[in-house]
């Protein structure tokens, strides 16, 4: 009887202890935070400044989100990860999104990161004078066969009445030697990333460079956007709103010239191989591409540009039928 009483006391004591510890312990915060995963398109660099800024400076946490920001890479596809449930949010290029939608992927575009596509062509400005589009006739132009730069360049020449036979295409890979050796006059680069680095190298060698931007000739092929799934929007609309709010605020802060040093330092923490000065210049160009004017609201979805992107892909038979992409753009 005495033993039973003792056992009862111990059980009551344990239950009381658990009751005290559990609600007031570290678990509380965890249960309130919503965990999500965010797959980027590329490695940590200036192009993902706002994404890492949101993570490091607590923008996600402020919205009650615990976000695992995952680096992208050439073989990683955020859309597939979303469908498989490995991530809830991701970044994908417009051509990836349109292709996926054409194959029934339940994807929705939440925000458009770049208002101007950073994919441009670097060229030596003293050897190639480009005042009008016809000036590219007879030039050797690098393109990645199967990549979106092929779609953009072919759309550009078609739109401007240039025949494919009037230019020479060169199959581009990671190695820039053909451009350095002048075998190729125009080489595709991301203006805000390797564009700065290669431009610097050539400038040092006293070779002035310029960038050929298809946007100036009427091709508004959309670049990277933030995406999620239809299910996510239906089942967790609040999480989606909070995620977009946090991300937009973070990007606005990161791109604000007043926060330049803070943003550069944040990027450098993740991208140690790039010098601070290079990151600084990359960031300035990124700002021009994401917020071309003061009035531009970060993340604005340019519906007409999306429609043009779809049209280009349809014309080039990259998709077999229209997908009405405007229906997949989040409002």
């Amino acid at each position: 009887m005495k033993n039973m009483k003792n056992n009862l006391r111990i059980i009551v004591l344990l239950v009381t202890l658990i009751a005290i510890i559990v609600p007031s312990g570290c678990g509380k915060k965890d249960t309130e935070m919503t965990k999500v995963s965010y797959r980027l398109k590329w490695l940590f660099n200036t192009s993902v400044a706002g994404d890492i800024y949101a993570d490091v400076h607590g923008f996600f946490a402020k919205e009650g989100l615990e976000v695992e920001v995952k680096e992208g890479g050439p073989e990683l596809d955020a859309i597939k990860e979303l469908e498989m449930g490995h991530a809830q949010f991701g970044v994908a290029s417009a051509d990836q999104v349109i292709r996926a939608v054409s194959k029934g992927a339940p994807i929705v575009v939440l925000a458009q990161l770049f208002q101007i596509n950073p994919l441009q062509w670097i060229y030596r400005s003293d050897e190639n004078k480009i005042n009008k589009i016809e000036d590219i006739k007879g030039k050797t132009i690098g393109i990645t066969f199967g990549g979106n730069d092929e779609a953009i360049m072919k759309a550009l020449i078609l739109k401007n009445g240039i025949r494919e036979e009037e230019v020479s295409f060169f199959s581009v890979r990671y190695d820039y030697t053909p451009f350095y050796e002048r075998r190729v006059a125009f080489w595709p680069v991301y203006r805000n990333a390797e564009g700065v680095i290669i431009g610097d190298k050539l400038e040092k060698a006293k070779e002035p460079v310029s960038f050929f931007d298809p946007n100036n000739y009427g091709i508004h092929f959309v670049a990277n956007s933030v995406i999620t799934t239809e299910n996510m929007i239906k089942q967790h609309p609040e999480t989606v709103k909070k995620f977009v709010t946090a991300l937009t605020e973070a990007w606005n802060e990161a791109l604000n010239p007043a926060n330049l040093d803070k943003t550069v330092e944040t990027i450098h923490r993740f991208d140690k191989d790039t010098q601070l000065d290079t990151i600084r210049r990359q960031l300035e160009i990124t700002r021009q591409l994401m917020k071309p004017s003061e009035k531009t609201v970060f993340g604005t979805i340019d519906v007409n540009a999306w429609k043009q992107t779809e049209r280009i892909m349809l014309e080039q038979k990259l998709i077999s039928a229209p997908v009405n992409i405007e229906k997949r753009l989040w409002k």
């Binding site: 596809d77 194959k103 992927a105 190695d175």
Partner: protein, 250 residues
């Protein structure tokens, strides 16, 4: 033998496809992640014939790379059995070079040699050469005491005879190693094309990957499997012929 190899490959391929369709159905995935059977069939109709020359191109480079590797491994294997120091040095070097991932070395090769045949050939040879070499060194350094001691004691042993005895006694092992390394040569060539070349089925897979088109990749894998199986079956047939002829002569 050819028929058996092909049917075995087709069974494995169909099992793989069935597994993919099972995952697609269970997880309710779109055609973007895993294409439907109809899409794979349609894609097959469009690209099958176009991919055949690409696979043949890859296979021809792989075969040349494979033959070069066999010749080099044989020569170096014979040399390295001459002294313990040389054998151990070559072994260590082979292990070390083998440890470097080819994706890290390939860009340097492409920068130096360009994106043509020589780069693909070198990478294919590199991938299948070192495993071959290590096996050859192992086989040719291992004395066949029962037979060799007679020639040693009678003073008739020469290095050519030693190599012959060891090769003859281990012919089955050698044939297995050579045919096994054929797949490595094929893999090496495809990796090279995938990374930097502008020809071959590896290059076509790269483009399909840019377009997120898994159905094209599946067709390419089917063709790679068919032609690799044929090559392996041919090597096995050749090996068996060789063993039979040697045994008959002996």
């Amino acid at each position: 033998m050819f028929h058996k190899r092909l049917s075995q490959f087709i069974i494995v391929y169909l099992l793989g496809l069935a597994f993919l369709f099972f995952i697609k159905a269970v997880l309710n995935l779109s055609d973007y992640v895993i294409p439907s059977p109809v899409e794979i069939y349609d894609t097959g109709l469009k690209v099958f014939l176009r991919y055949i020359p690409d696979v043949l191109n890859t296979l021809s480079v792989a075969i040349i790379g494979h033959v070069l590797s066999i010749v080099m491994a044989t020569i170096v294997g014979i040399i390295s059995r001459l002294s313990n120091w040389m054998g151990s040095f070559i072994k260590t070097a082979a292990f070390n070079i083998q440890a470097y991932p080819i994706v890290a070395v390939a860009p340097i090769i492409f920068i130096l040699l360009g994106d043509g045949l020589s780069s693909r050939l070198l990478i294919a040879a590199m991938i299948c050469y070192f495993p071959l070499l290590l096996s050859f060194i192992g086989i040719l350094s291992e004395p066949v005491t029962d037979i060799e001691h007679f020639y040693v004691y009678s003073g008739k042993m020469r290095w050519q005879l030693e190599v012959k005895i060891r090769a003859f006694e281990n012919m089955n092992k050698l044939v297995t190693v050579v045919s096994g390394s054929a797949t490595l040569a094929m893999v090496g060539t495809i990796v090279a094309e995938f990374i930097g070349a502008s020809k071959g089925i590896g290059y076509s897979i790269r483009i399909a990957l840019y377009q997120s088109d898994l159905s094209k990749i599946l067709i390419a894998l089917f063709l790679i499997g068919i032609f690799t199986s044929l090559y392996l079956a041919f090597l096995e047939w050749l090996g068996n012929m060789l063993v039979r002829n040697w045994r008959a002569k002996a």
